[in-house]
Amino acid sequence: MSKIIVEDLNFYYGDVQALKDVNMTIEPNEITALIGPSGCGKSTFLRAFNRMNDFIKNTSVDGSIIYDGMNIVDKDIDVVELRMKVGMVFQKPNPLPKSIFENVIYGPKRHGLKKKHLQKELVESSLKQAALWEEVKEDLNKSGFELSGGQQQRLCIARCLSMKPDILLFDEPTSALDPISTMKIEDLLVQLKEHYTIIIVTHSMHQAARISDKTAFFLNGEVIEMGETGEIFSNAKDNRTERYISGKFG
């Protein structure tokens, strides 16, 4: 049973078509990597899953993304409820100007979790899941800005996890990080897929090869090829995929 089914998705910025007839299925408890050169539509596609494209003026969309029995492309769905189930981690770590504790509890607290002991439990479990607990447990009241870049990114992951989401979207989560921090995040993603369905946009083909189960190659708004990651990387069917992966363009 697929988690998400995308059918004939088209997306336009004004007159410019950014996604062309995208069809895809996302399987539960897998990491799906979206790769392709800059401007190929992979980030637009990712942001369609939690409707972050809504903030961009003058866009239009047709086709369907079926998740949890509803078409989330539909203008009338409850976007707030959708985003509670579909978390997102951004390219640049974006901790809020608050303490570590307040960063993690931000979502649940504002959605009504007021009991202090429940908040504490949730912060601890979320930080543990995000592999940050051991590093910050002594100073939860410190500002989120005082952490290193890699720690900030894991804090942002913990902020998502505290909402107990179903799907996690990652938009080039390690592009601003050093190799050690990147490795930690990659290890974390592999652990997280046990409980969540993960979709990740990445510029690093090595990253896609290391952690993902499925890989989709985007070019000019089209999905050129999608399949098992091992298959795509060793035995791409399309010439363009092979050329991109081997570094001949992009």
């Binding site: 509670m84 997102m88 951004f90 974006n94 809020l96 100007p97 959605h111 500002s143």
Partner: protein
Amino acid sequence: MKDYHDQLHNYNTKPKVMLNRLFYIILLVMTMFSVFVLAILLYTIIRDSWGWFNWDFITSMPSRKAENAGIYSALLGSIWTIGLTALFSIPLGVGTALYLEEYSDKANHINRFIQLNISNLAGIPSIVYGMLGLAVFVRFLAFQRSILSGALTLTLLILPVIIVSSQEAIKSVPTNLKEASYAVGMTKWQTITGVVLPFSIPGILTGSILGVSRAMGEAAPLILVGAAGYINFAPKSVFDAYTTLPIQIFNWTSRPQAEFQKIAAAGILLLLIFLLTSNAIAIVIRNKYQNRID
């Protein structure tokens, strides 16, 4: 290549270093100029008011006899009008700024027209607001020559300043912080209270301080909406007649007796203290929020 290095080594850096030094001194003198003017102002005021600025002066009602004259009613009048002005103008200004920045469609012609108007209103002379206040609040709404009329007029006067500076503060909230909030299922209003306002409050307060300080020093529009020159009782409600510090000072300076010039100096000193104290309080509050962000 060798020539080039020789040239580099023989290059005379002295003129550039001198120029650098010269500009440092010029800029320092420019800065000192305003400090110097303020110092002279303070010096002459303190000299003139010496012996007149005391507790009796602050707690006495004005009088025709200089030796009995005090500023109590004007001080209370200023506290009432400025308090009300802040109460009206800050929520209204911040609310407008939030609407314009977060909710309104900026491509919409009506919204652009509103924006243009607000920016222009900031440059209108205060006396014009006085005439508007006279027509609308004193006459049409029949608030008479009351504290309420004065405060509402001052509110109109400083609203554009508060709106424009709040807009700038709200604009400076990084998009990625707002996205962080939306991404965990926050509504726009939750994002405003959770991220936008906490982040922009130092900037909003700076604009509000500037606006309210301006209102504190205004006399012209209040004279038009009927602040009195002589009040010998403490106001008890917003519908009472009133006077304010700048008006009381103006009234004293226009009297022929030399003693009243001394009294006026004492009044100016009190106005400055009043202004600096309220600014200091606002700055402390601002810094408290600023530290939370940094």
